[in-house]
Symmetry: C2
Subunit: 457 residues, 2 copies
């Protein structure tokens, strides 16, 4: 059993990021598309999405809860991720580990992850085991046994996870403080895994309150992709999840918003464990949920043109042409409930210094603000987005991820399906305008990771 | 009628800061002291403190509520201060303005202020008017008429207050973002006046919820100083405040705490309205409420020796001796519920640059960390604290402020009375240890206020 904490920002693997944001064109664009996505709701409010794919006799079963770390009460950071761990404990009907054992027995695999905006559980198994997966998953939605004897040891596990992932990793510690400096009011300023001193205090009362509030069918989305038909999924869903009573109605996810930023901020971490310096620079920008029409799509393409992989301007200019950087790029976290971040980054190579790399990144940003992008490179970026969906199509779990993350952040099935057309519609001027509006060098938040001997970046 | 927002940090006038933190020795140290402070509680839980002072026929009447901006719900910044304004509106028994008119008629004065941790209302009047003040003040504790017609126009007043005090003041805007960068989890990161976009959304529902929760005798402290005896205050208090029903019990004021800081952070504001550059550098440190025994006293004396006025090291070295700074100093905000800030600051003079001033400040900090302070300068700092209470004694409102702010942040009458002895007990080693423990140059948060033409500090 692998438990996962998916920190959507920065640690999101590039490939998955691409898949999550760029895979959707598959549905609308590919001649003879193989998917016809069905969506419906159960009587208790649980949303269901079915993505049939009969190329192989496997099925991916996911349940997404519309709750993540950004929904945690003040002072209780880490409870969403902690709860993800607790979902692998015993229920009134099954001992701890029984579900995982069953998955292993039939040669399947399972995982779970927590982000700012959602928590998801999934198994990939043979179609004949789907009903069993649903039965177990429905069971733990409401029947967990949350005693102090369960909570205490698992809290120690989480504390150890934080030690190994964050405390032992200067870059991770720096990122936490950069996030908290970038977001001064939104809950994205708080790490998904939680702050050590707050995790230490999490207890049974917190866990029970969280479970009772958020783990209910009307706050969940079932996504099934693979070798199964919608009618069969519906039948099984009604038989399993459909038996669970609707939970209390949850208010809209209205969270504190960022105030206007008037300053340029830096966060500097000097640590003996760092051998090569690096920097990142971030801005608060709209997400797909908060943007005006077309703006999030423009930011997505801007990140692709500026720093999305080896064809991007930053990589070509800094790594290939000037040879001053070992890495340079940009990314945009679009699939979020609230305003999100746009980030550029780089690390020097050879004789080059960090400042030189940062200056070169700034030059590329200013060049886009001043001159925009060419129709040709925009077209190529759009095509790269379209091509990247090939990866998604080849993996039913990727398709399930796209629908699950979109729906869990407030989007719809139609949003996913119309996304390729919205990407196609972006003009070079929109890219230039987005860069000029959001990537203001005097309003940025930069993080510097420096070796101990360095006195100055 | 002057409505006040007392931003405890930075904008606190130096004189009042001195009075608030240093006046207490009066009570224990001065031979033939004129005050004998009484304290008791009413049956409904309202605390009462009486500080008789018969030198002049005036009396200061204050009511302190144990609620400030740090108690606001997420997303509702500014409601505590907004509510302070609403307290000057009409009640079921008196029209808006009637209370103020009465104060003016009898030649008194009144004011109110809101901080992170408390909100206070006070009037200074002749003793014969005390009962009238209590009657009015008790009335508005529970009988305010909170309609949309009252709320809407007052919200416009607050928005205008924010525009004139903050938006038109680059230094104030910078301080807000420095605070939000220094405090990444504690509510002190949020400005007392509130963020513009959140003030705009405050409404009748928010105001009513806030009033019903926090404005009750069991969350209030009555402080009366001046030409009156405790028995008379008790009699009047029972007749007025004593008639108000106890409100719902409030949970302890347990707020999110800061995570460990691992970085050095900067916040830079460049603005055409700035003519002379300046900087501040701050650290999160314990307050009198959160410190281990003696630590807050050591921080208080450290701030005094390092940068408390013209006799301090920073002033003597940078302004007088080197002549590179027009100002330089330090301050510590000790009277707070949670961990607070210790700040140093400076501005260059003549040919000197900002970096030169910052470096010189850092030299003085490192000198104390390395060599500590002398017994002689510590003794003098203690004596300055003692002497400064002369100002407090001369002003009954200052005495009322000391008791009110101490009690409203979780301290006791005994804390105020024992404070001089605790200050006396601080050793040079404790000062050195406090500097070494808290003023780490690699973990600071610096703010830079720069003229528009400057490219580099």
């Amino acid at each position: 059993m692998i438990l996962g904490l998916l920190r959507a920002k920065r640690s999101l693997p590039a490939v998955l990021a691409l898949v999550l944001s760029a895979a959707a064109p598959a549905l609308a664009d590919v001649p003879g598309k193989e998917w016809s996505v069905s969506s419906f709701s159960l009587d208790n409010g649980m949303q269901v999405v079915v993505i049939p794919d009969h190329r192989a006799p496997i099925v991916t079963h996911m349940v997404w809860y519309k709750v993540g770390s950004a929904d945690e009460p003040p002072g209780k950071s880490g409870i969403a991720h902690f709860f993800e761990h607790l979902m692998f404990k015993g229920t009134a009907n099954h001992k701890a580990g029984e579900f995982g054992q069953k998955v292993a027995e039939i040669g399947g695999n399972e995982n779970a992850f927590t982000t700012y905006d959602y928590t998801a559980y999934h198994q990939t198994v043979t179609p004949s085991a789907l009903e069993t997966m649903m039965t177990f998953e429905a069971d733990r939605m409401r029947n967990l046994v949350l005693t102090d004897a369960v909570i205490g040891p698992e809290r120690d596990v989480i504390l150890e996870e934080r030690r190994s992932r964050i405390e032992n990793n200067p870059g991770a510690l720096l990122n936490e403080e950069v996030d908290a400096t970038l977001f001064q009011n939104e809950p994205y300023r708080i790490p998904v895994i939680g702050w050590m001193h707050e995790i230490e205090q999490l207890n049974r009362v917190d866990a029970t309150a969280f479970y009772d509030r958020y783990y209910a069918p009307n706050n969940a989305i079932l996504v099934v992709a693979g070798d199964v038909e919608p009618d069969r999924v519906k039948e099984l869903a009604e038989k399993t999840y459909g038996k669970i009573a609707r939970g209390p109605d949850l208010p809209p996810r209205i969270r504190p918003k960022e105030p206007e930023q008037n300053t340029k901020r830096t966060v500097e971490m000097t640590d003996a464990r760092v051998s090569v310096p690096s920097f990142s620079k971030a801005w608060v920008v709209p997400s797909y949920q908060t943007a005006k029409p077309g703006e999030a799509e423009a930011l997505d393409l801007l990140s692709e043109i500026l720093g999305g992989g080896n064809r991007s301007r930053l990589y070509q200019e800094l790594v290939v042409k000037q040879g001053i950087a070992s890495s340079a790029g940009a990314y945009f976290e679009g699939t979020m409930v609230d305003d999100t971040s746009f980030t550029v980054y780089g690390a020097p190579r050879g004789e080059a210094g960090l400042q030189q790399v940062e200056d070169a990144v700034d030059v590329e940003i200013r060049r886009i603000i001043k001159d925009g992008v060419t129709a040709d490179e925009l077209e190529k970026a759009k095509n790269r987005f379209v091509r990247s969906m090939i990866f998604a199509r080849d993996n039913q779990a990727s398709m399930a991820n796209i629908y699950g993350s979109t729906l869990a952040t407030g989007g719809s099935v139609a949003d996913v399906e119309q996304w390729p057309d919205r990407i196609r519609a972006v003009t070079p001027d929109q890219i230039k305008d987005a860069a000029a509006k959001y990537l203001n060098p005097d309003r940025s938040v930069a993080g510097y990771l420096l070796p101990a001997q360095s006195t100055q970046k």
